[in-house]
């Protein structure tokens, strides 16, 4: 079952008696949970109709006792069990599976966690009865679409390039992406009661004071062993207010994306296929990546990531000036040889 379908169930008020919500995309999982809780409790007194348990800490008997108890002056009782993965043994999950087969219709039991062991009976029943909601991390294309939809809900248009930029800068975790969109919406503000569009300028100003073009220019300069050029770029983009951490984050993200592309290319894939593997689009960018791959090999990019990780640790712990640490890092990148 998709998160959208579960939310749709909630909006229609057609709740199933059991939902298992798993996946590493916590923002979506929380949205599903919130929608189900709202639909189950509605205007009833939550204190009398809501039970929360944490797997591993709470006894399964208490959970099932709560599920079997009828709601108090309300249509439904809402029972939430967190961290299902903390129930190590099969017993608790099998008890839940037995409950799910003859669940109390006046209770909405929502079980959340990172993962549900696919060998367990609960997973099989969840699939059969379509109550297992999977909230997995979205790929970059889907995140860009999600950004556009989310911005639209907040009343702000965002063009595909800007959405892609947000995704590139913030990463695919929707919690962070949503936070960035909300900040952007506040930043761009309204004009005559209508939300202004979210632009690249706003993104650069609001999310990170580093342009992706500058980051790729740094990658290219280091790839060409052009230390002077790389240091000059660093001097332009370094912002002492943030100790260069956003710049380093963007640099690491770009190198990781390039690494995926380079690995695919070196394994004999075409540039287009490698581009898809690394979520690089449109085709003009794929050409840039292919060009870049001629001067920077995958193995070297891997070593760059090690250098960047060490730089990150140094920026967070060393008392040395941040710009000096970043300069050292560029010197090391320019000297890397495979």
């Amino acid at each position: 079952m998709t998160p959208e379908a579960a939310i749709e169930d909630a909006h229609r008020g057609a709740l199933k008696p059991v939902y298992v919500v798993t996946g590493d995309e916590r923002f979506v999982a929380n949205e599903v949970l919130g929608a189900l809780r709202h639909a189950a409790i509605g205007t009833a007194i939550a204190a009398f109709n809501e039970d929360k348990f944490t797997a591993g800490e709470s006894d399964i008997k208490r959970v099932l006792g709560a599920c079997r108890t009828l709601p108090m002056m309300a249509a439904r009782r809402f029972v939430h069990v967190r961290s299902i993965d903390r129930w190590d043994g099969a017993e608790a999950l099998d008890e839940l599976a037995a409950y799910a087969e003859s669940a109390n219709e006046s209770t909405c039991l929502v079980i959340t966690g990172e993962k549900l062991d696919g060998r367990r009976k609960l997973a099989a029943i969840g699939k059969k009865r379509d109550f297992h909601v999977l909230c997995n991390t979205l790929d970059d294309r889907a995140v860009a679409k999600w950004i556009a939809a989310r911005s639209q809900t907040l009343g702000h248009a965002v063009d595909p390039e800007a959405a892609e930029l947000i995704c590139q800068l913030v990463g695919p975790t929707l919690g962070f992406v949503n936070d960035a969109i909300e900040r952007l919406a506040l930043y761009v503000g309204e004009d005559n009661g209508k939300g202004r569009p979210i632009t690249e300028e706003a993104i650069v100003e609001c999310i990170v004071r580093v342009r992706t073009a500058d980051v790729w220019a740094l990658v290219d300069a280091a790839g060409q062993r052009n230390l002077a050029g790389a240091l000059a770029l660093l001097a332009d983009v370094y912002d002492p207010r943030d100790r260069g951490l956003p710049l380093l984050g963007a640099l690491a993200w770009s190198v990781r994306q390039f690494l995926k592309f380079a690995i695919a290319l070196e394994s004999g894939q075409s540039a287009d296929v490698a581009g898809r593997a690394a979520n690089v689009f449109p085709s003009s960018k794929v050409r840039d990546f292919a060009q870049r791959a001629k001067m920077l090999r995958a193995r070297e990019a891997e070593q760059w990531l090690v250098v960047l990780a060490e730089t990150d640790a140094a920026l967070k712990s060393s008392r040395r000036p941040a710009d000096a640490i970043l300069e050292d890092s560029l010197v090391r990148l320019c000297r890397q040889r495979t």
């Binding site: 007194i45 939550a46 204190a47 009398f48 109709n49 809501e50 039970d51 929360k52 399964i60 008997k61 099932l64 006792g65 709560a66 079997r68 108890t69 009828l70 709601p71 108090m72 002056m73 008890e95 037995a98 409950y99 109390n104 006046s106």
Partner: protein, 376 residues
């Protein structure tokens, strides 16, 4: 600090503070009890204080003080050592700053405890001068807590339910507790004492107050002075003061879930019903602990069944003349209520198999319990 105090007095109070002392706190000093000696020989006193920063207890004991002073020592270590002392007077002396020597008079037995300077102990809350204060009989407070405490939720993440509501409303004092599955309310009249107060007392404080009241109950006409000051409530009885930081939450609107009328009333012998429920629930499913009550004319059949352990059955004569009804309950919720009552007969008011049921003592209008049915 140098003082002599009777072992039995010291042991009694050090035992009492154990429930308040916090052993797992990030502040090690909270696992200590603060000893403060004041006054002079013949008229001195030893004050003992303990806190977990939410609850605090303080008590004064008569002591022969040679040298005033203050020191904080581990509450558990102190208790263990005092227990091992022979009966009679105990001398407590601090040396080298916070090292505390405990010596039995007339015996070679002694212990040394590594303590902390008394100044390291956090200050305990004190009521503001002029804070409203009311006196309540220990027996009344004991009855309020004793008939409701079991319904307090043990879920510490839900502050509103992990506490009992104490209300003083005109000439009436009331305590209400709920965990969302059942609710208990006791209301008692205190003629001639009019006040308005509302407090949400956390479960840990309720448990400690119950112990305190149990100790005081032996004293005839013992009273507790209740003072509400800022976010704290103070309960003073004799030389002991117990303070609690009140829960800053809204207790759910409980009155809405107490059924105002029920069309079916079953009157049963409390002891016989409790006995039957206890017996039949042995065979109830481990998953739910649920039993089914089938009420027909002047008879209730109690059944339970479990896929793992078979079934159980019992039958009791009751007073009932309504339509037959079948209703499932968690047996423990019923037993908790029946166990705290002392009347011979109880009334169980039912509306439908999906509606809350009400349990009341047949002859007492002060207490009411609401239990939600289970789908079995």
């Amino acid at each position: 600090m140098d003082l002599t105090v009777a072992k039995k007095d010291l042991l009694r109070f050090v035992t009492r503070v154990q429930g308040v002392v916090e052993r797992k706190s990030t502040m090690p000093v909270l696992s200590n009890v603060l000893l403060t000696a004041a006054g002079e020989a013949g008229s001195g006193s030893l004050r003992l204080s303990a806190t977990d920063m939410y609850l605090a207890i303080q008590g004064n004991l008569n002591a022969d003080v040679k040298q005033p002073g203050t020191v904080a020592v581990s509450a558990r270590d102190l208790l263990e050592r005092i227990k091992m002392m022979p009966e009679g007077p105990i001398q407590i002396v601090t040396t080298d700053g916070a090292n505390t020597v405990i010596r039995a008079a007339g015996s070679a037995r002694r212990f040394t405890l590594r303590g902390l300077p008394g100044e390291d102990f956090p200050p305990l809350p004190v009521p503001a001068s002029g804070a409203p204060s009311l006196a309540l009989e220990v027996s009344t407070l004991q009855q309020l807590m004793g008939t409701t405490y079991y319904a307090v939720s043990t879920d510490e993440t839900r502050a509103d339910l992990n506490s009992a509501l104490f209300e003083w409303d005109g000439e009436c004092v009331r305590m209400v507790a709920t965990d969302g599955h059942r609710l208990a309310k006791t209301e008692l009249r205190v003629p001639g004492r009019t006040a308005t107060a509302t407090m949400l007392i956390p479960l840990k404080a309720i448990n400690e107050l119950r112990r305190l009241c149990d100790e005081l109950a032996a004293e005839k006409d013992a009273t507790v002075q209740i003072t509400q000051s800022g976010s704290n409530a103070f309960f003073q009885a004799g030389t002991t003061t117990f303070s609690v930081r009140l829960v800053d939450a809204h207790f759910p609107p409980y009155a809405q879930v107490i059924p105002q009328q029920s069309n079916k009333r079953m009157r049963a012998s409390r002891v016989a019903l409790a006995d039957a429920l206890r017996a039949v629930s042995i065979a109830a499913s481990e998953r739910t602990g649920g039993v089914k009550l089938s009420v027909t004319a002047n008879e209730v059949r109690i059944t339970s069944e479990s896929a793992e352990s078979g079934d159980g059955f019992d039958q009791l004569p009751v007073e009932y003349s309504g339509e037959p009804i079948q209703i499932g309950f968690n047996a423990r919720y019923f037993l908790d209520v029946l166990n705290v009552l002392d009347e011979d007969e109880v009334d169980i008011l039912l509306s439908g198999e999906l509606d809350p049921s009400v349990i009341k003592p047949a002859s007492d209008r002060n207490f009411i319990a609401v239990v939600m049915p289970m789908r079995i």
